[in-house]
């Protein structure tokens, strides 16, 4: 074989080894220095979760937090797969809504514990297995460049052809003018589907579908679609709209007047954790006044009664809040998703 061929093969092999080594090194380097590693599985936005972990690791340098982030359904599915395989990696779970957490609690997978200032936490499990780490609210949002006046105010507006007729051209005749997130992916969307199907019956979803409401993947997809002017209106989460509005995007929102759905985003510790103390330290950190204030500054509704709400959010008790029985939501999870899919995704 000529020299060129030999050199080429050596170069290729060297590249592979280098790539593999680089890859291995880049994934391993962070794991080596710390003494204890705990795994956080969460649906919190990546940048928020990363910043929280940085703040935590600065304060507790001997605890390292590994992050897995995805949508609530995916996070729970991953944990479920770990439970079935008998090797649970996850130590702390923090997702959008309590329904999946209630199921985990009922099956005995969670660790009971009382955080500091437990009485200041607005929403929590009566038996002490989970605590709200923040509160999210599905809201109706719209593009302020398209809808200059007469924005929707209630869930019923989405189902109303009369409301649609008041939209500016061409949206009053568009086949799609609003979007909602998919419960298969978003936990908050599952709760919305549950609450509205209880309140207005499943025919409500047939009506919104016939009225030009489509389904996209997630809450952030709905919001990006509104900003990109794919449709003027959509159902998404309160804090996302506040954050985008603060960045100058043309978007605003209302708490629907016919039903405000407050969803506590529960944080819980797995019973199987090999590091319960480190896990408790992390949960206490998240529920602390300091972190809840920081979350409020980032636009999230805090979970503590002694922390100020983000700018522009009215006192929660002035809203038309629906009471939600999370055990019922947990029991109906499968049914809600199936019904939703059968109606909206046909």
């Amino acid at each position: 074989m000529n020299k060129l061929g030999v050199v080429a093969i050596i170069v290729v092999i060297a590249i592979i080894i280098a790539a593999a080594a680089y890859y291995y090194y880049s994934t391993q380097q962070s794991k080596t220095q710390k003494t204890v590693t705990i795994h956080l599985y969460t649906s919190m936005p990546t940048n928020i979760a990363t910043q929280l972990i940085q703040m935590f690791e600065k304060k507790y340098p001997n605890i390292h937090v590994e992050l897995y982030r995805s949508g609530t359904s995916k996070v729970l599915a991953k944990l479920q797969a770990e439970i079935e395989s008998g090797h649970v990696v996850c130590d702390i779970i923090w997702v959008a809504d309590p329904s999946g957490i209630v199921q985990l609690k009922d099956k005995g997978y969670l660790l009971k514990f009382t955080p500091n200032d437990a009485d200041r936490i607005l929403y929590k499990d009566p038996d002490g297995y989970w605590y709200a780490g923040r509160i999210i609210v599905p809201v109706i949002a719209w593009n302020t460049q398209i809808l200059k006046s007469n924005h929707p105010t209630s869930w019923l507006d989405l189902a109303s052809p009369q409301y649609k007729a008041t939209l500016p051209s061409p949206w009053n005749k568009a086949s799609t003018w609003a979007a909602i997130p998919n419960p298969l992916y978003s936990g908050a969307a599952t709760v919305v589907a549950y609450v509205l199907s209880e309140k207005y019956g499943w025919k409500y979803f047939e009506e919104i579908k016939n009225n030009g409401v489509t389904v996209v993947k997630s809450n952030s997809a709905v919001l990006n679609g509104i900003i990109n002017k794919e449709y003027p209106v959509g159902v998404t989460l309160d804090y996302m709209v506040r954050q985008h509005k603060a960045n100058g995007d043309p978007v605003d929102y209302v708490f629907p007047k016919d039903a405000v759905i407050l969803i506590p985003s529960p944080i819980a510790i797995l019973k199987t954790t090999p590091h319960p103390d480190a896990a408790k330290t992390f949960v206490n950190f998240i529920l602390s006044k300091e972190v809840q204030e920081w979350l409020s500054q980032q636009g999230f509704i805090p979970a503590r009664s002694d922390v100020k709400l983000p700018a522009g959010v009215p006192a929660l008790n002035t809203l038309n809040v629906v009471q939600i029985n999370w055990d019922q939501v947990a029991k109906n999870l499968e049914n809600v998703r199936t019904q939703f899919q059968n109606i909206m995704m046909k």
């Binding site: 074989m1 061929g5 890859y23 797969a81 568009a174 993947k217 952030s220 997809a221 794919e230």
Partner: protein, 557 residues
């Protein structure tokens, strides 16, 4: 075999055993597990999975949708492909080489890149085309990509390349004397084309059409990005949905339905291909007779040029424009809305995309290298030895690419879920190796066939060992084949989506997965920036491979 030297005997058979073992473990075992698992529920033999899926009306709907989409796209794509092939090969059209280059270009990109290019062109209200139409006072959803028609169009514009390649190959090889005979006996040009040429290439068209059908029913990216929004659900997207719930039993049962459909189509195609060899291909390269288009020459050229511009150039422009726009909703012709920010952020800032680029580069470079080395060994066994079971090796290595990627991915999940490979980057490497193995094997088999056996025999007669012959004679002659194989594996694995979306470890998305997720989240600017990077790399690789092989830079069949 007593006269064989001992080292030759040993080494060849060790390689043979290794090759068989690798293939059995990586190809046969997962497929066996897939079939086996579909009959098991909670560890017992049971038909419950099948009962469940066959008693729900959705199953029939998804299966019917899959078949309808497959058949319609195959018909449209075959008409386009055959016409285009005839025009490019058998007429006196100007700039034929340029046109045929452009005609195969859609095939070079991952399918989902075509889909996102068309989404940006023809999404209601925001698509570039609709914005142009709105400027003329037409409704903003005049063209709606999120419809069944949109799905048909995007798929046809990509998958016509199969029939184009098989038909043009056949047209180049049929004996022109038959057509000349017809023409001399007074038949007109179109009649000759219809009666003689068409009949001669019919088996190649059928073979290409069946490949199109398999490719369409196996495709995930286009139905996922366009079909889901159009509420048109097919088996691949529903396997992914069932897998995401996660309902692995359902995903397995759907996979079996898709597997059976694809296997039947594949069986028919292979049979046809075998027969076709005896009917149309003379083996000699002949100069095909050329039909004179006369006054139609320029209009036909214009039509073909417009068509390939629509299928190949415009989507590329759409991706490029969107990648460099501050926001996709801005006016792309206004220089103040241009930016390099998206590319910069995708390459250096956004953690998901930077990891994705790293992961995909690592995976495609390693799988290309491993497949090329392994493919060279396997190809040698297949072509240059008369070892028992070599046609079985050949067949087994081609199975994973022929079958739907979604099905292969589910099979790999089922086979390796309990091993430490699961949820790591290594399961992706294994999956790419399995799925793209046949690219390496086929390319190198082709290259090896052209090396005359007498050269090796001479070396061996002069006393060179088998290994020595391999190193000094075969490998140097094979170099361009090896490089082609490497690039042909590198290109599709770089932007792979279908297999990766099911197998990717959560903290290691690939470029395909990251692009798909960004599209689903409505973060279009980053998605287009990623797609742009992949497009550029793939085009360069395509040009290089064309230079090397001198043939069409796509592994057609």
């Amino acid at each position: 075999m007593a006269y064989m030297s001992k080292s030759f005997f040993d080494f060849k058979y060790i390689v043979w055993i290794l090759a068989i073992a690798t293939l059995l473990a990586s190809v046969a075992y997962p497929l066996f597990i897939l079939i086996y698992s579909s009959f098991m529920v909670n560890g017992h033999f049971s038909l419950a999975s099948y009962q469940r899926v066959f008693s729900s009306p959705e199953t029939y709907e998804y299966t019917r949708n899959t078949l309808i989409l497959g058949v319609l796209v195959t018909i449209i794509a075959s008409i386009i492909g055959v016409l285009l092939a005839w025009i490019v090969v058998r007429t006196d059209l100007p700039y034929k080489r340029l046109l045929s280059t452009l005609a195969v270009l859609p095939f070079v990109f991952p399918p989902y890149i075509g889909a996102i290019a068309w989404i940006q062109l023809a999404a209601p209200y925001v698509g570039y085309l609709n914005r142009i139409l709105m400027a003329f006072g037409l409704p903003g959803d005049t063209i709606n990509i999120y419809t069944f028609g949109g799905l048909l169009m995007v798929m046809s514009f990509r998958f016509y390349v199969y029939t184009f390649l098989t038909t043009s190959a056949a047209l180049e090889q049929i004996d022109p004397s038959l057509e000349e005979a017809a023409r001399m006996s007074g038949a007109r040009m179109m009649k000759v084309a219809k009666d003689v040429t068409l009949r001669l290439v019919a088996p190649s068209i059928a073979s290409g059409a069946l490949l199109t059908f398999i490719a369409v029913i196996s495709n995930f990216g286009i139905p996922a990005l366009i079909g889901m929004r159009a509420h048109y659900y097919v088996l691949t997207t529903m396997i992914y949905a069932a897998f995401s719930i996660p309902d692995l039993n359902k995903a397995t049962a759907y996979s079996m339905i898709l597997l059976v459909i694809a296997a039947v189509a594949l069986y028919v195609q292979r049979r046809m291909f075998r027969e076709q060899k005896y009917t149309t291909i003379t083996g000699k390269t002949v100069r095909p007779s050329v039909a004179r288009l006369g006054k139609w020459r320029i209009p036909v050229f214009a039509i073909v040029l417009i068509f390939v511009t629509i299928t190949a150039i415009i989507p590329l422009i759409s991706i490029t424009l969107s990648a460099f726009l501050k926001e996709v909703r801005l006016n792309p012709l206004n220089p103040s809305s241009w930016t390099l920010k998206n590319l910069y952020e995708v390459l250096f800032v956004n953690p998901d995309t930077t990891i994705a680029i790293k992961t995909s580069l690592f995976l495609s470079i390693s799988s290309a290298t491993i497949i090329t080395l392994y493919g060279a060994l396997l190809a040698y066994l297949i072509v240059k030895t008369n070892i028992k079971g070599r046609s079985f090796l050949d067949w087994l290595s081609s199975v994973p690419y022929a079958l739907p990627g979604t099905v292969v991915a589910i099979a790999i999940i089922l086979a390796f879920i309990k091993t430490p490979l699961y949820n790591t980057i290594w399961i992706l490497l294994l999956a790419y190796f399995i799925r793209y193995m046949s690219y390496g094997v086929r390319t190198i088999v082709g290259a090896l066939m052209q090396i005359d056996k007498s050269l090796e025999e001479a070396a061996r007669m002069c006393g060179a060992s088998w290994l020595g012959t391999m190193k000094d004679i075969v490998l140097p002659l094979l170099k361009s084949g090896l490089v082609a194989s490497w690039i042909l594996v590198f290109m599709p694995t770089l932007g792979e989506l279908t297999v990766s979306i099911i197998l990717y470890p959560p903290d290691n998305p690939t470029i395909g997965v990251a692009t798909y997720n960004l599209m689903e989240e409505g973060l279009y600017s980053w998605a287009y920036a990623l797609a742009f990077i992949v497009s550029i790399i793939v085009i360069i690789a395509h040009v290089v491979v064309r230079k090397i092989t001198g043939r069409l830079g796509v592994r057609g069949v």
